[in-house]
């Protein structure tokens, strides 16, 4: 892996930023420690000096100048001794181990920090903390303490700071690189994987580590996206396959009919007949085309922006009302029931069409097999079957249920129709579930709902379950005259 690439990673940049923050933090902490230490040392020195002065001034009071000078000479001979100087009132040195001092030092009260020169040392800078004490008789006693100790401590602390910062930088950089490399490895793996999937086989999926960390979750979402794309692609493919099949068959008939007429028709009547046939075929083509287009659009989620809140009960009643004479004509009892105030958010038109398709199917195919109704049969005295259409609330959902007493759909076919809803071919090969059912499924999905095919024992029961509208509104201005719940 190229190092440059590693440096460009977000993880590495974050590591660097973190490192900078840690370095500043460490500096502050060590600085504070150093500052405190210095103060502590200064305080200790001051105390030592004060104790010394008290002791020496006592000795002076008891034994006079000679005793003081003796003690100081004894003390200054010891290695690492403090600084001592005894002078006359005029400042002439009498005893001590200080060679030169700034002249005004003896006139300053309290603890003073000053430069000084010890005996036998001409170069170098020596600094000391000192205090001047005036003895009886006007003599000055100066007691001091070299600050080299504090300075060396500062030096040690400074070095420690530098060393630790250096280590921090080294470890931080290496750690950052290591973490970046680890993350980059996984991201690169995901990228490579994704590229391979995008470039080639869309059925491939990212390998997940199963740790559930953020990269895994990213991978999961990516896989979910791929899943969705695959479904859309499959839908597109199936739709185009179906278009090819459903449209080419009538197109072939249309073309053959026209060809045949051009080749062999003799009389105007024959031409007229051929043209009428061609018109019928084109009409059928348009119908299929419209149905396929509606399904494709609903599947693609088109028309979502035009969604409104509408009353599901009125949809059920309107559609029931629309089909009621058809049911009566076929001798089927149509029972419509709708709970009031069932609000859905979506397309009233599409919901109506979906329910109409289900009802259409139920009325066409949902009669008991023995009845064997013809399409134009006169109204029968006793119903040949019963079809129920209802809209009801079920938890947070609104359900449209269309149930009949017909032959139903075998269980394994039922699953097939649902799972592979876009396989119009399969759906159409079963009675009662043609393009209409596919559209109903697409409409249910568009509304984030589902369509289920159940056994009505006997018969078929199709349930469109749609999530109810979150907020209930006043019904929109009724476009239809209110209908009694049960049609006559």
């Amino acid at each position: 892996m190229a190092l440059g690439k590693l440096f460009r990673t977000t993880v590495f940049k974050i590591s660097l930023a973190y490192l900078a923050v840690s370095a500043i933090g460490a500096g502050l902490v060590l600085g504070a420690v150093g500052w405190n230490m210095e103060h502590l040392i200064d305080a200790q020195i001051a105390q030592t000096i004060d104790t010394d002065i008290t002791g020496l001034s006592e000795q002076y009071a008891q034994g006079g100048m000679r005793r003081l000078v003796n003690i100081i000479q004894k003390r200054t001979r010891r290695p690492g001794a403090g600084l001592y100087l005894v002078t006359t009132a005029a400042g002439e040195p009498i005893a001590g181990n200080i060679v030169s001092l700034p002249p005004d030092i003896l006139n300053r009260p309290g603890l003073v920090e000053t430069a000084y020169q010890p005996p036998g040392d001409t170069g170098g800078k020596h600094r000391a903390l000192a205090r001047n004490f005036v003895l009886a008789g006007g003599f000055h006693l100066l007691v001091g303490h070299d600050l080299a100790e504090g300075e060396s401590l500062r030096h040690i602390l400074g070095e420690a700071l530098l060393t630790s910062l250096l280590w921090l930088v080294v470890i931080g950089t290496l750690g950052g690189l290591w973490v970046a490399r680890r993350v980059l490895n996984r991201v690169d793996a995901i990228n490579a994987n994704a590229q391979a999937i995008v470039a080639g086989d869309l059925s491939g999926r990212l390998r997940l580590t199963g740790t559930g960390d953020e990269l895994d979750r990213l991978g999961q979402n990516f896989n979910a996206m791929l899943e969705r794309i695959a479904i859309l692609m499959a839908g597109l493919k199936e739709v185009s396959d179906n278009i090819a099949h459903d449209l080419k068959t009538p197109l072939t008939r249309l073309r053959s009919g026209v060809e045949q007429a051009l080749r062999s028709a003799k009389s105007p009547e024959e031409y007229r007949g051929a043209l009428e046939k061609a018109l019928d075929e084109s009409e059928r083509l348009i119908q299929i085309f419209d149905a396929l287009l509606s399904i494709a659009r609903a599947q693609a989620g088109a028309g979502r922006e035009g969604m409104i809140d509408f009353d599901a009960a009125s949809v059920a009643r309107d559609v029931g009302d629309l089909y009621e004479p058809v049911a009566e004509e076929r001798g089927i009892a149509l029972a419509i029931s709708a709970e009031p105030g069932l609000y859905l958010h979506g397309s009233r038109e599409l919901a109506g069409q979906a329910v109409a398709n289900l009802l259409d199917n139920a009325l066409k195919y949902g009669v008991p097999e023995a009845a064997g109704l013809g399409p134009n049969r006169a109204p029968a005295q006793d119903p040949k079957g019963t079809v129920e259409l209802s809209a009801r609330r079920c938890g947070g959902n609104v359900e449209f249920v269309v149930a009949d007493r017909g032959p139903g759909i075998a269980e394994n076919d039922r699953l097939r129709v649902l799972d592979r809803f876009v396989r119009l071919e399969n759906a159409r090969s079963r009675p009662g579930s043609g393009l209409g059912l596919s559209l109903a499924v697409a409409v249910a999905r568009l509304h984030n709902g589902s369509l289920q095919i159940e056994d009505n024992k006997p018969g078929l029961r199709v349930v469109i379950r749609l999530p109810a509208a979150p907020v209930r509104h006043e019904p929109r201005a009724p476009l239809a005259v209110p209908q009694p719940d049960k049609a006559a």
Binding site: G303, P325, L350, N357, A480
Partner: protein, 230 residues
């Protein structure tokens, strides 16, 4: 239907040619222009009963054309023709100022019926009537009452609306989709011809036992309430 002056704004010259020919055969005057700007100029400067406007036009698209006309207070009824036939497209078209919307491909009988209804709509005095009368059949919208030759006929609410629409457009062809749109407010194409069944049921109530039959089927087009004695 009396003579109508129709302006067709359509960029497909062949489709326009068929339309012009068919409208002339139906006894109307039809002009044709091929782009939106010409269409706007003609509609502004001349008087037409109905404009037929394609949605996708060169130079000025159909919806903008309608918007410009409406901004100029030119309220000639407009029928929008479009390959986009979905509900939301229709809503957009009507919102832009169109009066009716027909998706391509269409049957000419459908187009003719709609154009005739639009042309009639703009004539004064229509739409305010509360009682419709056709040869002894009398429908009172406000009283919700229907009589024929003085005898009261009971209709279900939906049948009443169906008949009301037919009688409002008496002597005009009304297609199945027009009925579905105006009486049920749905625009889809039912797989079964449900409207036919409603009509035959209505016919049984208003024509059975009376003479002449008023509710007539116009073959290949739709239905019409017509004074059969004429």
């Amino acid at each position: 239907m009396s003579l109508m002056r129709i302006l067709i704004v359509e960029d497909d010259s062949e489709a326009a040619y068929y339309m012009v020919k068919a409208f002339r055969e139906a006894g109307h005057v039809a002009d044709y222009v091929g782009d939106g700007l010409d269409g706007y100029a003609r509609a502004r400067d001349e008087t037409y009963d109905v404009l037929i406007v394609d949605r996708m036009l060169p130079k000025l698209d159909g919806l903008s054309l309608i918007g410009s006309l409406r901004a100029q207070k030119i309220l000639t009824p407009v029928l929008i023709l479009s390959a986009l036939g979905q509900v939301d497209d229709r809503v957009k078209g009507l919102r832009a100022g169109g009066d009716d919307y027909l998706a391509k491909p269409y049957a000419f009988s459908e187009l003719l019926a709609r154009v005739e209804v639009l042309a009639r709509r703009n004539r004064p005095g229509l739409g305010e009537e509360t009682v419709f009368r056709v040869n002894g059949l009398e429908l009172d919208r406000l009283a919700h009452r229907l009589t024929r030759d003085g005898k009261e006929i009971q209709l279900q609410p939906r049948e009443f609306r169906l008949l009301e629409y037919l009688m409002k457009h008496a002597d005009q062809v009304v297609t199945r989709t027009m009925l579905l749109e105006n009486v049920w407010d749905y625009h889809f194409d039912p797989q079964t011809n449900v409207i036919d069944v409603h009509i035959s049921r209505l016919r049984a109530k208003i024509d059975k036992g009376f003479d002449p039959p008023l509710l007539q089927t116009i073959r290949g087009a739709g239905y019409m309430i017509r004074d059969g004695s004429r």
